[in-house]
């Protein structure tokens, strides 16, 4: 008594359809159209007829007179049902119907028409409860029997999630004649034998818990539905629960969990092995959309799948989890991928479409491995790396100098030792080591054996670093103690190797298998045995070195964008080599040139450049720690004639130089060392001219360069201070000339050798929709191409597509690898920066794409007006931001004055005189001029203002909100 009988949901899909009702199910199943729902009777693997419930848009397509060009076969996992795919069915149907309505009689429909079939697996969803336990072999065969009964013809693209991914891939490998592609969301086809199951799953699998958690209660179901980010809407959660309301209806969930083949003794293990091996032989297009916040299908399973399908297009959504299809709008991405991979609209693009004829790619420089110079200097006793304050050494204990011959020997030993320690070609090695001799040695050793170095900027902070390391799925982590401790605590993957030799208990505690010293010992032994890798013999003909393919990935660099998680930027050996050639030629670096390496990315290239590089006494990852004295001492130590520094470092250098000059603290030796510097490179955000002029006073003989670049392309254009000043004078001298009536901005000079710069003009909404063009005076997104440009982003297929949209790279990709299209047009990259070219081809930067202000009168880029305002007396820094809806934004100027310390932090309205001056100088209708104590800066770039944060703050303050500080 009192026990409620199981009631079928009021609007069971399929049943309603049979009863002739239309559309009424949408109340109970948000997003699901009852017209898709149908019941089909088909034999299962044993030949017994079973009733399947499935979602199928065929009837809607047929009604519209559309013939499907192919079928997407969707298989849900446990404990969900076909409801999981509702957005895919909807999006595909809408796209097909929209395509049909657009097409006129003369033209065939342009959009491919996808039939979508999403099944409820037997014992699951609204399909039949037969009471049978269906193991993996049965499930794969059941699905095959169903598609046979449906008479499914090709081409078919499978789409699976969770354990449905295994079933769909099983179907895929069994139907090669129908299969055209595979798509998967968080799934796995392989459980490594020696690795433990995910803890969450171990718990559920405990016999005592299995039935209780999956069948008797709704715990497993609820837990799965509860881990969506953000949380599922209550009505959607109810819809997912609808077919599983009684214990009897949940038996399939328990059976599914019990079918997870935990080891070789499990009855489904052989089938899983069969599928996973066969998947590795698939050569159809593959798409993986992954939510890493998944307690079960973690990144290691993604890594396994990528290893099996290396050609797959992969996108990881940092903030998404197991129910990635609920967390992220995957349907439009799936359709975009299908259109790109299977659409015929752009099948045969004209190479170099949209590119002005005169700008064809420069021939790539001849490939020279990064270690070739090191090999040539094998007998050189001269210094190659000098550390003014070696890490680990006591402060003031003197400088450490490493000779070419020592570095060469060390690199060879480490290369051999790493091989002995199990590091293979193509393995990813995360280097969590601060710049210096250790990092240099291990970096070149990895490159030499074809291992991929993963370098993440420590400035990302521990969270960002962790995401970068985990996301890159390193096979090995080489790090200092703190990094390895984090790796241990936070569960970063990979074999751990320490830079220092730890005591056995510490090594054990941190899970460290080797130290670098130990690795070098292994290498020495291997070389002595003659079994060392090819490196020992490869001194002369580096280019012929069989160890490394120039087009294989060499490095993945992580730096953060101004918003969102860090992106991994992938470079091949050839691309890094091109960068070295460029730096050498551009800045006249010859064998033995003394180089102060105050900018992390370039610091590592010293040995490849043939330079003697010196790391000043500073924290390279914290640019503001570089002082004038440190730079002078470093320069003196190697007779440096070239200095690489970050803008933030130079700001501090000038500040400390002034202080030092007052105290008369720079010695004559130090002053003379600075006076010998011929070239100074300030890489990063542009610096104001007065500051550069101060730097010039410190290094009077130096030509000061402020190049333009980014992690994706480290050196794109270049300009010297002299030229900047000349340009400014020209503008002043001829204020009325058409040439000088530019949108303003920072001039970053002409493209350097091999670089092409084009612009994609902005529309009135501030979107870069224009075709690529070299026309002067047009503001647009800056799009670059160069031999040393990045290859692609790591596991960010969608980002890759966005960064190359509308460029020849997109056409080359559509034409397929091996088409030679890229060779004809070069690789292109949308920088996200906005600027214009002047009549002489110089590039001017006007801001970042998201910072473009869209007023009713048109778009406004921030840098130009900021510069004119910063030239006003009393103004230290200025930021122009837009508030309000795009297209009708108001312009707000936020000013840091040189006297604002009195009311630190609190925002005030500018005095009428200042507000008037700002409006007059900028020529912009500024709604409000606000004065603050300190403008917020992007944490990673001390000199870049966080305009997006500032805009949202300004919107709050000017909306009548609290007068907080920005």
């Amino acid at each position: 008594m009192g026990r409620q009988r199981w009631r079928e949901p009021a609007s069971l899909p399929g049943v309603h359809q049979a009863a002739g009702s239309t559309g009424s199910a949408t109340d109970d199943f948000p997003g699901l159209d009852a017209r898709w729902s149908r019941l089909v009777t088909a034999p299962d693997h044993s030949g017994t007829p079973r009733t399947w419930h499935l979602l199928d848009n065929l009837s809607l397509l047929t009604e519209a007179g559309l013939e499907p060009t192919g079928t997407i076969l969707c298989v849900h996992g446990n404990p969900t049902w076909s409801y999981l795919w509702r957005s895919v069915v909807a999006a595909a149907t809408d796209a097909a119907l929209a395509g049909a309505s657009r097409a006129d009689a003369a033209e065939p429909p342009s959009a491919p028409v996808w039939r979508v079939i999403a099944v409820d697996q037997l014992e699951m969803g609204f399909s039949e409860r037969s009471g049978h336990d269906r193991g993996l072999p049965a499930r794969i065969a059941d699905l095959g029997a169903l598609t046979d009964a449906l008479g499914l013809a090709g081409p078919v693209i499978t789409l699976g999630h969770d354990w449905g991914g295994v079933v769909s891939l099983g179907w895929a490998v069994d139907h090669p004649e129908l299969l055209a592609g595979v798509m998967m969301l968080n799934t796995a086809v392989h459980q490594p034998e020696h690795e433990p199951l995910p803890a969450a799953l171990r718990l559920v699998l405990k016999r005592s818990l299995l039935v209780a958690s999956t069948v008797r209660t709704t715990a497993f179901l609820d837990t799965t539905l509860a881990i969506a980010h953000p949380a599922l809407e209550p009505r959607v959660r109810q819809a997912f629960r609808a077919p599983y309301r009684s214990a009897r209806r949940r038996e399939g969930i328990g059976a599914f969990v019990a079918d997870i083949p935990v080891d070789a003794s499990h009855p489904s293990f052989a089938e899983l092995t069969r599928v996973s091996s066969a998947v590795a032989r698939l050569d159809v297009p593959a798409l993986m959309l992954w939510g890493p916040r998944d307690p079960i299908f973690s990144d290691r399973y993604l890594g396994d799948l990528i290893a099996r399908l290396p050609h797959a297009d992969v996108t990881r959504f940092e903030d998404a989890g197991h129910l990635v299809g609920e967390d992220v709008a995957v349907a439009p991405m799936i359709l975009a991928w299908l259109a790109a991979r299977f659409g015929n609209a752009k099948a045969a693009p004209a190479p170099a479409a949209g590119i002005p004829d005169e700008s064809q790619p420069a021939p790539a420089p001849e490939f020279r491995p990064l270690w070739a110079t090191l090999d040539e200097h094998a007998a050189d006793r001269g210094a190659v790396v000098v550390e003014m304050a070696p890490r680990g050494a006591r402060r003031g204990s003197g400088i450490r100098s490493v000779s070419w011959s020592l570095l060469k020997r060390r690199v060879d030993e480490l290369a051999a030792g790493l091989t002995a320690a199990g590091v293979e070609r193509g393995d990813r090695v995360s280097l969590l080591v601060p710049p210096g001799a250790d990092l240099t040695a291990v970096l070149y050793a990895c490159l030499r054996i074809g291992a991929i170095v993963v370098v993440a900027d420590a400035g990302l902070g521990i969270t960002g670093l962790g995401r970068a390391v985990r996301g890159a799925r390193p096979d090995h982590v080489i790090g200092i103690e703190t990094a390895l401790a984090a790796a241990r605590v936070l569960g970063w993957p990979g074999q751990r190797i320490s830079t220092r030799t730890f005591s056995a208990p510490l090594a054990a505690a941190l899970g460290v298998s080797h130290s670098l010293a130990g690795v070098a010992r292994l290498g020495r032994a291997a070389i002595a045995d003659g079994g060392g890798p090819r490196v020992a013999a490869s001194v002369d003909t580096a280019a012929a070195d069989p160890a490394v393919d120039p087009d294989a990935t060499a490095a993945i660099l992580f730096t953060s964008g101004s918003t969102g998680p860090a992106k991994g930027v992938v470079y091949t050996h050839r691309q890094l080599a091109a960068l070295v050639t460029l730096l050498r030629d551009r800045f006249g670096i010859a064998a033995g040139t003394g180089l102060v390496a105050g900018f992390a990315p370039f610091a590592l290239l010293g040995p490849a450049l043939g330079a003697t590089s010196v790391t000043p006494d500073m924290d390279v990852t914290a640019p503001r720690t570089l002082t004038a004295r440190a730079i002078a001492e470093a320069a003196a130590a190697v007779d440096a004639i070239v200095v690489f520094a970050s803008p933030a470092a130079l700001v501090n250098v000038c500040a400390t130089a002034t202080a030092a000059a007052k105290a008369d603290a720079l010695t004559v030796v130090e002053r003379n060392a600075l006076a010998r510097v011929k070239t100074l490179l300030s890489a990063g955000a542009p610096l104001p001219v007065p500051l550069l002029e101060e730097v010039a006073l410190l290094m009077p003989a130096a030509s000061i360069h402020t190049p333009y670049g980014m992690t994706e392309g480290l050196l794109m254009t270049d300009i010297t201070l002299d030229e900047i000043v000349r340009r400014a004078e020209q503008v002043k001298a001829h204020p009325g000339q058409a040439d000088t009536r530019q949108p303003g901005g920072v001039c970053v000079g002409l493209p350097v050798a091999g670089v092409q710069v084009l612009l994609s003009a902005l529309d009135e909404r501030g979107a870069a929709t224009g075709p690529l063009s070299a026309a002067p005076g047009v503001t647009g997104e800056i799009v670059v191409s160069a031999p040393h440009l990045k290859d692609h982003y790591d596991q960010l297929w969608l980002t890759d597509r966005a960064a190359t949209a509308g460029t020849p790279s997109e056409d080359a990709w559509l034409a397929g690898s091996g088409s030679g299209a890229e060779a004809a047009t070069g690789r292109w990259h949308r920088t996200g920066d906005v600027g214009h070219l002047d009549a002489e081809g110089r590039l001017w930067i006007e801001g970042r794409l998201p910072h473009v202000i869209t007023t009713a009168a048109g778009i406004l880029t921030p840098v130009g007006p900021e510069q004119t305002v910063e030239a006003l007396p009393g103004v230290r820094r200025a930021a122009f931001v837009g508030i309000g809806p795009r297209g009708t934004q108001q312009v707000v100027a936020v000013i840091e004055t040189s006297t604002a310390s009195s009311r630190r932090g609190r925002v005030t309205l500018a005095e009428p005189s200042l507000a008037g001056a700002v409006r007059r100088a900028s020529g912009v209708d500024v709604a409000a001029v606000l004065v603050v104590g300190d403008l917020p800066t992007d944490i990673r770039h001390n000199s870049k203002i966080d305009r997006l944060g500032l805009a949202s703050w300004a919107a709050g303050v000017l909306g009548g909100g609290r007068r907080s500080k920005p």
């Binding site: 309000g884 108001q890 309205l909 009428p912 209708d925 909306g959 009548g960």
Partner: protein, 329 residues
Amino acid sequence: MKVLVTGASGMLGRAVARGVLAAGHDVRTFQRGASGVAGATDARGSITDAGAVALATDGVDAVVHLAAKVSFAGAPEDFRAVNVEGTRSLLSAAREAGVSRFVMVSSPSVAHAGLSIVGDDALPADPLRARGEYARTKAAAELLALDADQPGFAVVAVRPHIVWGPGDTQLIERVVERARRRRLPILGGGLALIDTTYVDNAASALLAALERADRVHGEAFVVSNGEPRTVAELLAGICRAAGAPAPAWSVPAAVAREAGGLIERFWAVRPGQDEPPMTRFLAEQLSTSHWYDQRRTRQALDWRPSVSLDEGLQRLAEWYAMAPGDRLS
């Protein structure tokens, strides 16, 4: 066209009547006193008097309806009689008289529920949620007017946002007079961003609506200078133009709203000579941002403001610089 302008004795009404005249139309004005508009015929009377309204509309082709009870305080029934019933009576008389164009002068406050307005276009009038008797009754009136739109009777609602100019008794005089008595507070730091309309711009927008009524009828348009400024900057600018001391004391916005509510209730019981120094409505108006998306308005009316905010302030300063007797309004 023969055009009836109601409420032509006010600053905006007078400017509209002059603008319509200058555009080559005949103008009849309708208000209790003389309009003081040279070249116009005055039909004097109250909007609450149906007979007078019928006489006024007789023989005209178009109406621009500005007459309203504009105040921060007062008895609800007074607002209703003038703003709602007066409009109802005028609409009906106009239709009787065969009028083909009707420009309803409304206010953005008809859709303002007290929250910030940041770049919105004109939202529907909402008599239930609008703040204060003026806004509530104007909202009801605007709905009445737009509801009357039909073939042959083109109704356009135009909502000029905070109209000011030389001779303005609604905003400028209040601000300047209180600033002189040093009783003008700045609310919440005065950083709320507010758009306003210089009187000549409001007048030209109403003329544009009149001329394009056949194409844009049935819709409401917010009209402003499209140059929002912070309250503090606006008030300081007005005070500077009038030679009054700039407001110096600041009241937290929440306190002002609460105090405004108290004073409002107190005043309703014991009406004084002056209006309350602070009403809840005024406190809200001056402590939340409200500026509008002007793109649809400018496109539909084919109109742009011709006097910038700075130029308007300059004209205001020139007006205050004149001897009171020389000031034309």
